[in-house]
């Protein structure tokens, strides 16, 4: 063996060892570097004694002892490392500040501040929070989501075509929210307030996948992003509630009434900024913290399955029909949405190559029982609609029900195939990601077409 060959081989071995060691959460990059230096010192000494490079490496590694023991000792000194931290300032390992994450943070601050300013701009035109709550209800998504989309598009360096599409879609959203002459008390105004944000969330999705619009994997990432964003937003909202309570309590105690400051500034500006901050947090922590949405999905899938089956059993036992109240259809829509969410977030965290297991069967059971319940409800309700005529609310709820039902029915079919090892898991994933435009389309239809179709009811 010639000397350079031995050297190259040694470097590969070191590279492998480094890779292996860096996977340990207990060992930071600096530690691996320090240990590698140690290993190299040991190898140098052994080759000096006449060992060949590969022999020296083996002996040196053997002397150092197993990485398991080593990491255990490190963990005793650095127990905090086992609690994965969301590092906001980059790891302080002497490699200099992480410019990328710093620039991201700056962009986030700009976007969050933009959102906070934009929500106060209408006031200059005389539209106050107190006088025109409806205006803010319809437009809330327009004060927040364009900023979040800009942050994402900036991070992904979206092309001109995508940026143009984003601008156009947000403009369309602004039209849908504001051009129709809808009365404060009409059904359509509520539908608009719900569906414009939904439609625009999918525009955020477009910004999210802007580096590869057609990729199924990127769309799945957007689904993950949505779940995590929601979890973070809820956490920030809880923190914001505590902050608000303290502002109120402390200022009240010294005789200053902070109600205006809270109602006019803290809550609206903080709320819209939180939407951007939550999105940035999800992007920043992606690989640092375990995703919460799949954990919640795993936790609640068995519980929901039990509840739904219990409901079906009780329903069969009593033999009573389902008492369809006005709100019932919306309730069952939400049920389907929850079941779909459980399904999606379990899928999002699943190893696509793992064979079907007990959990997949449980999930199939959950989806099938939700389908059975929903069919029972639909049978009941279509009768009512044909009897009493339709309203925007009923039409929207019915449309959503049909869309979710179609998705879940085909999902159940694919899952059955998967559990019986006939269909690959990827088919299920592709079905879900391919279906996303359907939700977006329906949200746009309700937001844009319903008001005029139903005569601004």
């Amino acid at each position: 063996m010639t000397e350079p060959d031995g050297h190259d081989e040694l470097e590969t071995q070191f590279a492998q060892w480094r890779q292996y060691a860096e996977r340990r959460p207990e060992l930071r990059k600096a530690d691996t570097e320090e240990l590698e230096d140690h290993l190299r010192g040991s190898v140098d000494e052994l080759t000096g004694l006449g060992l060949r490079a590969d022999e020296a490496f083996l002996v040196a590694v053997k002397r150092m002892g197993g990485l398991d023991d080593l990491s255990r000792e490190f963990a005793r000194e650095h127990s905090e490392r086992l609690w994965k931290q969301l590092v906001l300032t980059g790891e302080e390992d002497g490699s200099g500040p992480d410019t990328r994450s710093r620039r991201d943070m700056l962009a986030m601050v700009v976007c969050a501040a933009g959102a906070a300013v934009s929500v106060k701009v209408p006031e200059l035109a005389g539209i106050g929070f107190d006088d025109d709550g409806g205006f803010y209800g319809r437009n809330i998504a327009l004060f927040t989501l364009p900023w979040l989309a800009s942050l994402l598009a900036w991070r992904r360096q979206a092309g001109r075509g995508v940026i143009g599409a984003l601008l156009g879609l947000f403009a369309l959203g602004a039209l849908a929210a504001n051009v129709y002459p809808l009365a404060e008390s009409s059904q359509s105004v509520v539908l608009t307030a719900i569906h414009v944000p939904l439609a625009l969330w999918f525009v955020v999705g477009l910004a999210y996948v802007s580096d590869d619009v057609r990729s199924s994997r990127r769309r799945m990432d957007f689904i993950r992003f949505t779940g995590e964003w929601f979890v973070y937003l809820a956490l920030i909202a809880a923190g914001g509630g505590v902050l608000t309570a303290f502002v109120f309590g402390t200022f009240e105690a010294i005789g200053i009434s902070p109600e205006d400051a809270i109602g006019q500034w803290l809550v609206p500006c903080g709320g819209v900024a939180a939407v951007v901050v939550a999105g940035w947090l999800v992007e920043a922590k992606q690989s640092v913290v375990e995703n919460m949405a799949p954990v919640l999905a795993r936790l609640f899938t068995p519980l929901f399955a039990v509840v739904l089956i219990a409901f079906l059993v009780a329903f069969g036992w009593t033999g009573e029909g389902i008492d369809i109240e006005r709100e019932a259809l919306i309730l069952f829509d939400l049920l389907l949405a929850v079941v779909l969410g459980l399904l999606l977030y379990s899928l999002s965290a699943r190893d696509p190559l793992a064979p079907p297991g007990v959990f997949d069967r449980l999930q199939l059971l959950l989806v099938v029982s939700a389908l059975v319940i929903d069919v029972l409800v639909l049978l009941e309700i279509t009768g009512r609609i044909t009897e009493y005529g339709t309203t925007p609310n009923k039409a929207a709820a019915l449309g959503e029900n049909v869309i979710l039902l179609a998705n879940l029915a085909w999902s159940a079919w694919l899952m059955l195939g998967f559990v019986r090892r006939r269909t690959p898991f990827a088919a299920l994933e592709r079905w879900q990601t391919g279906y996303l435009p359907v939700y977006a389309g329906w949200a746009w239809v309700v937001a844009l077409a319903f008001p005029s179709v139903f005569g601004y009811l």
């Binding site: 190299r40 010192g41 150092m64 000792e73 002497g94």
Partner: protein
């Protein structure tokens, strides 16, 4: 004869502080020095040394800096701080007490034999 693990662990801090008192050094060299000083009888592992160095750094007894050595490599050097010097002095006092006491119960250093309990002979 190998020194037991407990004794190695107990003497670890004064040993490292003492070696660093000779001048700044790095992990591998410290292990070499320990082996040299004890004629190979003190069985130190990397799992003992590096976490200990990090702990001493956290406590402020030593400070570290990365210096580049030949080629691309960087090496982490450790050096004693003022607080480390004080700690070493304190450790030396304690060890002196222990050694002094042991010397008194082990007079002469000759061979030892078990003394039977009274009344059991």
């Amino acid at each position: 004869m190998k020194v037991t693990k407990d004794l190695v662990a107990a003497s670890a801090t004064p040993m490292v502080l003492g070696i660093l008192a000779e001048g700044e050094s790095y992990g591998y060299a410290i292990l070499r020095r320990i082996s040299e000083l004890s004629g190979g009888e003190l069985d130190w592992t990397e799992g003992l040394l590096y976490p200990l160095l990090h702990r001493l750094e956290r406590l402020g007894h030593v400070e570290s800096s990365w210096q580049s050595v030949k080629g691309e490599r960087r090496r982490k050097y450790y050096r004693l701080t003022d607080s480390g010097v004080a700690e070493l002095a304190e450790q030396r006092r304690q060890w002196a007490t222990v050694v002094e006491a042991l010397k008194q119960v082990w007079p002469g250093g000759g061979t030892l034999s078990a003394i039977p309990l009274e009344g059991m002979a």
